[in-house]
């Protein structure tokens, strides 16, 4: 069972990496900065692990702190990343667009 799970994880790793290459090569250079900050926000998905770590209810002090700091760092990454990307994308205007 364990080996099956790992093979399955490697499988989706491979597929998503290929998909990532395909998707990103189509992004125009104009949008490279928002792409970076946006994909950076997505990599804050570690927040899923951080929530489990911070909420484990463990008695171990070090574990608690690791979980808490991980959660703060991941939340900064997610919230800050998405907001700053939105702020940038809002500025990309076509000719004649009103502000």
């Amino acid at each position: 069972m364990e080996t099956t799970l790992l093979i399955y994880l490697f499988f989706i790793f491979l597929l998503s990496a290929v998909l990532g290459f395909e998707l990103i090569s189509k992004v125009p250079s104009t949008l490279h900065t928002p792409l970076m900050s946006g994909s950076n926000a997505i990599s804050g998905i570690a927040i899923v692990g951080a929530l489990l770590a911070a909420g484990s209810g463990t008695d171990d002090t070090l574990s608690r702190w690791l979980g808490l700091i991980a959660l703060i760092a991941a939340t900064v990454n997610v919230v800050g990343g998405y907001l700053v990307t939105d702020r940038m994308l809002e500025m990309f205007k076509k000719k004649g667009d009103k502000r």
Binding site: P34, L71, V79
Partner: protein, 456 residues
């Protein structure tokens, strides 16, 4: 219940994928980002429903603190400081992955080789991303010197440290993950390596390193996904990892250098900038008044911005002048070199902030064939990316780098603070050309002076 969580994670992954897809056009990009954010929200909510979460007190503290910090940072940062902001966010992503893997190992230690290897890989990449990003942030924000920092034995030292990490990882896994000393040494060495591998990178090579750190932060999340056996982390982490690698490749190609050369050569430091032959000729300064006369008569103007425009915060003044020139009947284009500025797409964001419509931004490949028809090419704070030596002088350190061929325009006006050389530490042959004029001074003030001439 667990199946529902997995299905929700799948939907989140789908939202990320389609969100990135919508980033392929400025029209849909904002919606794409929202879609991606809602995918993240979904992932967070279903995770909170997980039975493994027993204590919500610390979660509330962490989420509130993180949200306040993140939201404030995102709102307050100036657009010109975006590269350092992205570096910091990269770093926080790396830190989160590192700590999650560490905590997972403490809470549920496993004797399995694969599990322990993924824990260490995750910790290693996360730590490398974290300190590497901090150094990049320091360099970009000017808190650390931007020039490459080299010392004798740097490369052998890095190699020894990497070999030590590999050896310790093998020992840690062989010992069933019980020896925490090995773990702590790997963590320390990884933190150190993040510093050591980033300090030799010079200012203008920052676009490459930012993209690479972006990739690392994704790979760190991906490795953490293997630790936690969590599919959404694996999918998402590899997407981001791939994205960073592509951007890294694009940036390297735009400088005609390999990634290895960017990472290890200390390009731009005094030792690598060979003495080249003194360029014959003299530079011809021009006044604001004479520039105004040239611009007033121009039918076609190309603006080439560089890092100097960001430093002088001149993007709004650039657009104001551009609008006046258009009203005066000229065609105005903004030619953007892929590595202009300090991060991929840096110039595009600044000009977008100043309300320049994105249709007016043209890429290097599009402007070069029509450069001969341009009456005035206005260079604002750019240097190496318009140096004709890259195309013509095989002895030049930047030979072979694709450039915006500004020298082919009828007249070139170079706005510059002084005659100081660019990042590559070499003289720019463009300044000595027959059709070049140097307009010295602060870019913003000079542009405002030109605007005043048109209005007056």
């Amino acid at each position: 219940m667990n199946h529902w969580i997995d299905i929700a994670y799948m939907l989140s992954a789908g939202a990320f994928i389609f969100g990135i897809k919508q980033l392929s056009s400025p029209d849909t990009a904002r919606r794409g980002n929202m879609l991606s954010a809602s995918g993240m929200l979904l992932a967070i909510i279903v995770t909170l429903l997980n039975k493994g979460i027993l204590d919500f007190q610390w979660i509330v503290v962490g989420v509130v603190a993180g949200t306040v910090i993140g939201a404030l940072a995102a709102r307050l940062v100036a657009m010109t400081s975006m590269p350092e902001m992205v570096a910091l966010f990269n770093g926080s992503g790396g830190l989160a992955s590192l700590l999650v893997a560490w905590e997972a190992h403490r809470r549920s230690p496993s004797p399995e080789v694969f599990q322990n290897a993924t824990v260490l890989i995750s910790v290693f990449i996360g730590a490398l991303t974290f300190t590497g990003s901090l150094i990049a942030w320091g360099k970009l924000s000017g808190k650390l010197p931007g020039r490459p920092f080299l010392f004798p034995g740097q490369k052998p030292l890095n190699l020894v440290l990497i070999l030590a990490v590999v050896g310790l990882t093998v020992a840690f896994c062989a010992g069933g993950g019980a020896n925490l000393t090995f773990f702590h040494i790997v963590l320390g060495v990884a933190l150190l390596l993040g510093v050591l591998t980033t300090i030799p990178i010079g200012g203008a090579d920052m676009p490459v390193i930012i993209a690479l750190l972006n990739s690392y932060s994704g790979l760190a999340a991906c490795a953490t996904g293997f630790v936690l056996r969590n599919n959404v982390l694996v999918v998402t982490g590899s997407l981001v990892g791939a994205s960073g690698i592509i951007l890294t490749q694009i940036m390297c190609k735009a400088m005609n250098r390999s990634l290895g050369n960017v990472l290890f050569s200390g390009f731009g430091s005094a030792s690598t900038s060979k003495k080249q032959d003194k360029i014959e000729g003299e530079v011809k300064p021009i006044s604001v008044e004479d520039t105004f006369i040239l611009l007033e008569a121009a039918r076609s103007v190309a603006v080439v911005p560089g890092y100097g425009m960001a430093v002088a915060q001149a993007q709004h003044a650039v657009h104001e002048l551009g609008q006046i020139l258009e009203a005066n009947g000229a065609q105005v284009q903004y030619a953007i070199h892929p590595v202009a500025g300090r991060m991929p797409g840096h110039m595009n964001v600044l000009l977008a902030e100043a309300n320049v419509p994105y249709e007016q931004l043209v890429e290097m490949e599009a402007i070069n064939p029509v450069m001969e028809t341009v009456d005035v090419c206005l260079i604002i704070g750019a240097n190496d990316i318009v140096n004709p030596a890259a195309a013509e002088d095989p002895s030049s350190p930047i030979h072979g780098m694709p450039i915006i061929e500004a020298h082919k325009a009828r007249t070139v006006i170079v706005m510059k603070r002084s005659m100081a050389s660019g990042f590559a530490g070499i003289d720019n042959a463009l300044f000595f050309r027959e059709n070049s004029r140097m307009l010295f001074g602060d870019a913003r003030q000079t542009l405002q002076g030109l605007v005043a001439e048109f209005k007056g």
